[in-house]
């Protein structure tokens, strides 16, 4: 009746719709029917493209985690040491800032969903924590910063980033630029690294 000439494929429409509804209502408060309506499709179409609700949700999580990882890897491609660490942190923050709804899904809606989702959450969290950790370890090895418990630091940084972003996702404050300005130095200082004023 409408959406007849929507250029997106059915699968894309479903994922977009699911992203919208999940990020707005959370996993459990989202009904498959709502996604059907938002995507202007049918129940059967969703189940043709995704085996079930859970997998549809996880597809969104994975999609965004992949994007995030790709961006980080691009950003640090030609860098090393603490410059690289700094670039990674900034990229994560910028990407969250640019994609508010996926960020909400990854950081909020994917939590507390019961043991089914916990593995995925652990996995995604670890994925980025290990990335950060490995960069930190290299910076330590290079003597740029003093030795620290890089595993704890990586998780702490991820938590710090996530929490500030969550705050922004919900309230719109503090805005991305302010986050970037305050959080990046904070994290770097925490491991004793002081970027040159001129940077």
């Amino acid at each position: 009746m409408s959406a007849e000439h929507d250029p997106r494929s059915t699968r894309e429409r479903i994922m977009d719709a699911a992203l919208n509804v999940f990020s707005r209502k959370g996993y459990y408060d989202t009904r498959m029917d709502e996604i059907v309506e938002e995507a202007a499709t049918s129940k059967g179409a969703i189940y043709f493209h995704f085996p079930n609700k859970e997998k549809l949700f996880l597809a969104l999580v994975d999609q965004f985690a992949d994007l995030l990882e790709r961006r980080v890897k691009e950003a640090i491609a030609d860098k090393a040491g603490m410059v690289r660490v700094r670039a990674a942190v900034i990229t994560v923050l910028e990407t969250f800032g640019k994609y508010r709804r996926p960020a909400k899904i990854l950081l909020v809606q994917a939590v507390g969903l019961g043991n089914v989702f916990e593995k995925k959450r652990q996995e995604v969290g670890e994925r980025f924590a290990r990335l950060i950790q490995s960069y930190l370890d290299e910076a330590i090895a290079a003597g740029e910063i003093a030795p620290v418990d890089s595993e704890v630091v990586a998780h702490a940084w991820m938590g710090a980033i996530e929490n500030v972003v969550i705050q922004w996702v919900y309230t719109g404050e503090p805005q991305p630029e302010r986050i970037l300005g305050a959080l990046v130095p904070l994290l770097l200082h925490s491991v004793g690294y002081h970027e040159k004023e001129g940077a």
Copy 2:
């Protein structure tokens, strides 16, 4: 079957049981019947003491948030400046470490439950963030540390603490002492504060 002479009141047994089951399975995967069994009581008894599942869950969240706040306030009672900030952080970490199940409920199970729970989560999060923020502001005013965006810092710290604790809650690693040893200096350094080596 047993528990006939359980000295705890029915209400206490229900809250204990709910804490166990909720922290193990999460809010949505917990069935009222499981709590009934764990508490060795009846469905009616639960609904006599709590209006519904949601309020029962929130009662646990509030109970632990209250405990946490009480402990922090006790711990910082006679302190000032960065010593006070440090005491607050340590107390939060120690309390989480001591109460693993309530910590899991507060930090994990209360997240992503849909908009009904978000307000509560925001509220509890803000409660502690503001506490930290006010202590930081005093330390800045006293000249102990350089000016920082204390709001962002407070949320960042809360996130860092939470994420490391969540990691521990799930995997048992890193253990509380290690967390304390690594995280406290990290946070303090992040604002440019360096405790004396002898402390």
Copy 3:
């Protein structure tokens, strides 16, 4: 805490309270707890005086049916023929008019409650229908009115009376005097009886 010196016995307070709540909300929408509160007593007290909810309700029905029958019998004690019929009809109408809440219970709330209550309803209905029918039969035998199917007439009259009273119970209109003025001649005319203008 209150009602400490209520002169009515507990049993009376319970029946009054039950009458109020049942007539206001109907049988199924009335909770025992509401009666407890309205009667300022306890759950146990109600179950001490009445075996269960159903019997409490039926006690009210019977109480009012008894009152109605007593009044009718008093009113027709020294009368005969159509004068007696007329007196009976008027008494029923007057009594309904005087006791609005019991009337509502008898005529409305006791209907449609399922088969448990149907027997009672049949019984009460028959009780008065037969009374009217016997008076009518006597009037026929006395030659005051032409022969009619007195059983049908009795039920029709009861229905007519009930429906008009129900209307009044809900809307307050038509008021008792108007009902009396319009309904009594209507019923008497229906069997060909015309009271003298001077009466």
Copy 4:
């Protein structure tokens, strides 16, 4: 188990089944599961076609009230004055006589269900009372009968009809022909109208 090739639509089967069970057991004593079984369908199918138990019941009430009104209007189409009044009364009686189960639902099961249903009951009752009343008023205006309080008369007639029909619905007595033979003259006489013997 069977009914696999039942030609009726699911919705029709549900309404038929609901009519059977509701008329047999009453609203509150009817379980949704009983309707499911009687309709040889599933719980979900009922809730796909009707929002809830209440609305399903009211759909039956409305369906029969509509049928009744349609029949009455057909029957009086080409008539006027007391002939029309008589035709309306007869049609109501005949329709009740022909549809025993819907009649029981409308006249008995829809009563005393609490305030949710009262509005509907008032509405349906008024609908027919006003119809009768308007026909009576015309007969009065035409000088066929003497002036009467037509509102009271209409409600009285409806009550008379209903009560006699209820009696029949429950006991099978008096049978429709006897009702028709006794009740129609009774009602007409009540307003002073005497049909010609030859009719």
